[in-house]
């Protein structure tokens, strides 16, 4: 068993090396695919994180209370709001808490707020929605409750952001699928050449009683090795690129969206296993496709 695997591995490297022009070309092509794929992956992940962020920030209804509304009245309102469909949570935010949040959001500019003598912010109830669609109804209902001064709900804006982000993600998914298919074709072509180049040898192997796996093992591994090497190169390159990107664009992104780019370390960790899985998958599937088409299982024409 071990000897079998070692033999296959040795043969795989030998054929890959003999065929080095083609092996290098396909490693190059798949690496390029994976790099483009990585960029789209970074884009999708960032967009989806940003969207979640926006949903959290704006996918809430702020119900501002009149100054004379008491805490008990507010508690009753919360109870009745929580009973409505589409409400995930409702919590009481005092004007002091609201000010704290404000300061946090302004970050280094928060000192400007220190100049204020009085806290101008009202007490409020913050409703977190479990489904954005019910937002309008909940907002109107909340506005009609006694003791409510005003209601703020950015339904349209949030809806737009979600729409845009969905479009971006769908587009990216299509590009990613396309790239994976192209990579599959590249690998299977490489293996096809290996099969063609070794036709006589394979025929001879059959004559002397080689099992299918003895013949296929090396080619299967050749595909996987090509996939893994491409994955390794793309992981390194895309990690460097993303880290650089965060260094140079991170500041602007923050100013633009008031959210930072997804942490490089987190992304790279995920990229590593995703790309290796992808590389192995592409290599394995690509060679299987080729072997199915060009390696006759029985019969004389191999």
């Amino acid at each position: 068993m071990i000897r079998g695997v070692l033999y296959s591995l040795k043969q795989a490297f030998r054929h890959g090396f003999k065929n080095k022009g083609m092996s290098l070309a396909s490693i190059f092509a798949i690496t390029a695919m994976m790099l483009i794929l990585a960029l789209f992956f970074f884009l999708t992940v960032n967009v989806s994180f940003l969207t979640e962020n926006i949903k959290d920030q704006f996918g809430t209804i702020e119900v501002f209370l009149k100054d004379e509304t008491t805490k008990e009245q507010a508690a009753n309102m919360i109870t009745s709001i929580k009973e409505m469909q589409g409400v995930e949570n409702a919590e009481y935010i005092t004007k002091e808490q609201a000010m704290e949040e404000f300061k946090t959001r302004w970050g280094s500019n928060a000192y400007l707020l220190d100049g204020l003598a009085d806290n101008p912010l009202p007490n409020s109830i913050r409703i977190t929605l479990s489904e954005l669609e019910s937002g309008d109804f909940i907002a109107t209902t909340a506005a009609s409750l006694p003791g409510v001064e005003d209601v703020r709900f950015y339904r349209e804006e949030v809806g737009k952001v979600i729409k845009v982000s969905n479009t971006i993600q769908k587009g990216a998914l299509i590009v990613i699928i396309f790239l994976v298919v192209v990579s599959l074709v590249v690998v299977s072509n490489t293996i096809k050449l290996t099969v063609m180049a070794r036709q006589d040898e394979i025929q001879n192997m059959r004559y002397v009683g080689a099992t299918n796996w003895f013949i296929r093992g090396p080619m299967f591994l050749e595909g996987i090795i090509i996939g893994c090497i491409s994955a390794a190169i793309s992981i390194v390159l895309s990690s460097v690129i993303y880290t650089r990107l965060c260094e140079t664009l991170g500041e602007q992104a923050f100013q633009l969206f008031s959210a930072s780019l997804v942490d490089p370390q987190f992304l790279i960790k995920n990229i590593i296993w995703i790309f290796f899985a992808l590389g192995i998958g592409i290599g394995a599937c690509g060679s299987i496709v080729s072997m199915r088409r060009y390696l006759n299982r029985k019969g004389e024409t191999v």
């Binding site: 033999y7 006589d200 059959r206 002397v208 009683g209 080689a210 099992t211 299982r297 029985k298 004389e300």
Partner: protein
């Protein structure tokens, strides 16, 4: 050992073998003769399941070939040494590696290979050619390499499709001596040939095929055709 039961093989519009039934004993030496296109190669390919019959069943050592999985067929072929008119050696491997190749396929250790291949080459009388490539050998020497490769794993059956077809008569006769030797070790030999003189001289069982039909099965080296 080898049994054909009502075996028919059809290609597009030619019936290459028609309702063939026969039995070959373990240790037998059998010639298969007949004109070109009569179905000799078809017959011999059926034994190692290089092709499959359209009707009937081929049995080797009692086992029906149609019931065998791919893996079983691989193991069946380890028990059948095969040699062809055109040798089918690998041009980019040395004589040694061409023979060693058959042992690698059955996963022999390097040590066994290094010990047994030179032995086999010297039995075949080509021990001094171990490091040559097939293109550097004469036709007779190439066929010896092919035979060495076919029998290195001690098969119980040896089948040869016109092994002397490309050889002059002296060389052909030397090859026949090797086949006789293989047969003496207990290996069943089935050989397709056109060479009337060889068949007459060897005095073995002769199966004659014409247009896909077995027309004669006799002992004593009677070629059975006038050509």
């Amino acid at each position: 050992m080898i049994d054909f039961k009502n075996v028919t093989k059809v290609y597009a519009d030619t019936v290459a073998l028609k309702n063939a039934t026969l039995h070959i004993d373990q240790g037998d030496f059998v010639f298969v003769v007949g004109p070109t296109g009569s179905g000799k190669s078809t017959f011999i390919k059926l034994i190692s399941k290089l092709i499959e019959p359209d009707e009937g069943e081929v049995y080797v050592e009692g086992k029906p070939l149609s019931k065998m999985s791919n893996r079983d067929v691989a193991f069946l072929r380890r028990d059948i040494g095969m040699v062809f008119q055109d040798f089918k050696l690998l041009d980019n491997k040395t004589v040694f590696d061409n023979v060693a190749f058959a042992m690698e396929v059955v996963r022999c250790s390097r040590r066994t290979i290094d010990r047994q291949v030179p032995q086999m080459l010297s039995v075949m009388g080509i021990e001094d050619k171990a490091n040559n490539y097939p293109s550097e050998l004469s036709a007779g020497e190439q066929q010896r390499v092919a035979i060495a490769r076919a029998i290195i794993n001690n098969p119980r059956i040896f089948i040869a499709d016109e092994p002397t077809g490309n050889l002059d008569s002296d060389t052909a006769w030397e090859i026949m001596q090797l086949l006789e030797l293989i047969n003496k070790r207990g290996t069943t030999v089935v050989m397709v040939t056109h060479a009337k003189d060889i068949v007459k001289r060897m005095q073995k069982r002769v199966i004659s095929i014409d247009e896909g039909t077995i027309i004669r099965d006799s002992r004593g080296g009677d070629y059975g055709f006038d050509d």
